[in-house]
Amino acid sequence: MQQAYKYTVLYFLLFSLLLLLSGILLFGEKIGFSQEAILLYYLGDEERFLIAKSMSGILKVVLPHIFAFGLFGMVVLHFVVFTQSNRSKYMKFFIYAFFTLSLLEIFTPLLIINGFETFAYFKLISFFLFEFLVLLLLWILFRSIVHE
């Protein structure tokens, strides 16, 4: 890979870390890292004067994330394809895991407000698994750039 492109990808890794960090902070600030907090955020609570989220309110958040997750996934995964890991049996797993976790992360709120409260667990688990998977992919990319 040309030296300048290597730098570009390295900086992209740093931006991705900032994106993950801000995402975690935002999740903690707005929703919270427990099943109760997630239900409270989406379903509201009259006693605490918390308004339940509406379908249109959730769609306003979901819509830009569908495009953003797709684009981010394409960029990160296509960089990984150019590394040694492309030949490993895990590559296919990474690709399917990325898009499955993204779908769960994005669409579980719609299920939660429609009565499927169990999906609060899915929301939480998919969020952490997604963050872990992206960190793993970034680490693979970083190692590949440094060792090549």
Partner: protein
């Protein structure tokens, strides 16, 4: 990023107008971004300070933690995609010239510093606001130069 593999972009009748369009939109985005930032966050140290921390005398509320995190989260995504695309085009257009590495590093570093100092200004100390503004203008100027330089190379250079 197929354009990185094409030998002579000037000979490619499709890629040249496509890339020119992308660069033109990048230019418009960069200029609009400065104007939108002026309206939302401010472009002077005092304005940014008032937006982030409010002003008791003028009864202005500070920006909430959640709103700030939403703003910076969105900025990180847009900026990383913009500089990644612009750098890829610029590197291809300057064709391995030594200074292109310096320009790309300057752009990336100034964008990183912009994002980090904005976060530090809000969460740590307002002293970082000046550094935020300096890096904000630096990355916009460098990105403008890269867009214009790439547009020039794409349309007027003898061979790319």
């Amino acid at each position: 990023m197929r354009f990185t593999l094409i030998k002579d972009l000037k000979q490619d009748k499709s890629m040249r107008p496509i890339l020119s369009g992308l660069l033109l939109f990048t230019l418009i985005y960069l200029l609009s971004d400065v104007y939108v930032t002026k309206l939302t966050l401010g472009l002077l140290s005092e304005q940014v300070q008032t937006t982030l921390f409010g002003d008791v005398d003028e009864f202005l509320d500070p920006i909430s933690r959640a709103s700030f995190l939403e703003y910076i989260h969105m900025q990180i995504f847009f900026m990383m995609m913009l500089v990644l695309t612009l750098s890829a085009i610029y590197i291809r257009m300057t064709n391995k010239k030594a200074y292109s590495l310096i320009v790309v590093n300057l752009l990336m570093l100034s964008v990183l510093v912009t994002l980090i100092t904005l976060g530090l200004s809000y969460f740590v100390d307002a002293i970082f606001i000046d550094l935020y503004l300096f890096s904000f203008f630096t990355w916009h100027i460098v990105a403008l130069y890269m867009s214009l330089s790439s547009l020039w190379s794409l349309n007027f250079a003898t061979s790319i």
